[in-house]
Assembly symmetry: C2
Homo-oligomer: 331 residues x 2
């Protein structure tokens, strides 16, 4: 996610952002928007301009060609193909370059991409709902799945969502981000014996294309899934590492582990995420309920409570979300 | 807590508030401040002006005498001695009276007083700290006991605090509100057999005067407490109702049940607060920690989790508290 603003004599003369992979970068749109006014102007870019020929020509060249005088960069690109080479190129062309302005905010905008670039692994976010007395609830606050709601936004922000098979069966319709033009995440679930997936309802082609099921040789995902053409991946052993490895091979930057549905399926994955330090971020919704000790989720309650690694959560803070109490923090 | 502002020709000409019981009300201070300018001015008062002779003459008379033209009142006084009689008196004197402006905010300012007036019982607040994975922690966030911190403010806002005897022994020094000129709450604790209170350290006279211990006939609070002159109340049975009854007789409006120290002592009181609907408000601090499943507090963990009455929490919202995550809500 990169944005660019071109400013001349204190006025914005061009704006642009990178809409999606394969399309031109923010600088290109902003320069187009500015036209001849780009000459001697200052370009503000959240990420270092690229200097390599990918699907589009390098942005450094476009900035030089447009005779930009100064470039203010939020953060250096962690991608080793770019990594400061873009800045060098601009400086060599006589452009005044400033780096690290509002760097923390720029980093947060692309936290998943940066993590993936630096570690080679997808950025993993855990989401769950808690009652005020500390029980995990299989509930969401009212309206959060609607456009603008934090849950709808989380779905948009993640390339894949790992969820309970019961959720896939019962609530597939609300597992789509409602943000306008949102890219929908891949829905990942696991089969077990006996798998609730044997009860999976009839899905549209569009829906099945967005679902993937991980199984091992012992598991029976049921004929219905095969009949419907849902992709199934057979692993030696189902574990979080294997799922993340798959996501990595798909080029995914970000994966959401969503504690909803029949939690029992997710208990092991949750444990692994904490014990193997695979988790980067938590997003928790606190629901205005004193309750939630029903026995259905007892295993997960025990799991989440007893996973005591004394981890410090960094930057724990509320997300502004229309009267809902949603907190996020980093591990 | 009542404030009064006198406005004339769109300008504030007088301000006052009720500093503490026995001292003049906010209207009196505001009228003194305004002097002759009060004539034909508008008085804004958060609570209905009193109409009875208590320790001070009625504020209605003061407003009439000062020739106030209009009075805007936040809320009617729930005290049956006042209850709308103040408004009638003003209207009878030809003053234009408007009632119910910013009523919710005014009610919140005096929520404990209103509750006590309407029910005859003290307003009970439960405070606790949760880890992000839902465990109750015997910890507070950094700086919250200092002046301006939510904990220091809570102590100021409550007439009494019920706490674990271990807390009294170990941390008495931080059980005082640091707000400038704060009225300190009475510290209430319970003894059990064997009582940790036998280990109570030497206290100053000022400190002992602020402590009260509830026991029953079976319990031994230790000679040290008696030697130090700490007040001990022997009850037939120690329970929350009996403690609140005592607080009521002391004229207390608000009591804080603080889940800190050795939680075991508080487990029963917590249960009773929920099961007998004695709780009006919760204040929870969410600490940036994934952990807290140490066995010390296991009983309380179980108690708080399993107290499942499916209670809805109203107006759950964050308190702004210098980077700390503190939520409050009402039962």
């Amino acid at each position: 996610m990169v944005g660019c603003v071109i400013v001349k004599d204190g006025k914005i003369v061009g704006e642009g952002f990178h809409p999606k992979a394969g399309q031109p970068h923010g600088e290109v749109f902003a320069l187009r928007d500015a036209g001849d006014l780009a000459e001697n102007a200052t370009a503000y870019v959240s990420l270092e301009p690229c200097n390599h020929y990918g699907r589009t020509p390098p942005c450094t060249e476009a900035l030089i060609k447009a005779k930009i005088k100064k470039v203010v960069v939020g953060m250096v690109d962690p991608n080793p193909i770019v990594a400061s080479k873009g800045l060098d190129k601009l400086r060599d062309a006589g452009i005044n370059v400033t780096v690290g302005v509002e760097e923390e905010l720029c980093k947060r905008l692309n936290e998943a991409y940066i993590h993936q670039m630096l570690t080679g692994k997808p950025f993993l976010t855990l989401r769950y709902s808690l009652s005020v007395n500390g029980n995990v609830l299989d509930q969401l606050g009212e309206g959060v799945t609607e456009a603008g709601g934090y849950y709808s936004q989380l779905l948009q922000e993640h390339d894949a969502v790992i969820l309970s098979p019961t959720l896939l069966i019962d609530k597939l319709s609300i597992l789509a981000s409602q943000e306008p033009g949102a890219k929908q995440p891949l829905l990942i679930t696991t089969a077990r014996n006996p798998s609730p997936l044997t009860r999976i309802p009839a899905l549209s082609t569009e829906e099945t294309a967005n679902v993937i099921i991980f199984t091992d040789k012992e598991m029976d995902v049921g004929e219905r899934t095969a009949q419907q053409g849902i992709e199934t991946v057979v692993l030696d052993q189902i574990n979080l590492n294997a799922i993340l490895e798959y996501c990595k091979r798909q080029g995914f930057c970000s994966v959401l582990l969503d504690l909803r549905g029949n939690f029992g399926d997710l208990e092991e994955l949750l444990k692994q995420s904490i014990e193997q330090n695979l988790l980067q971020k938590i997003v928790m919704e606190i629901l205005p309920i004193w309750g939630g000790s029903d026995s259905d989720n007892e295993n997960l309650q025990v799991a989440i409570k007893s996973l005591d690694r004394g981890l410090k959560v960094k930057n724990l803070q509320p997300i502004i979300s229309d009267k809902k109490i949603v907190l996020e923090g980093y591990l």
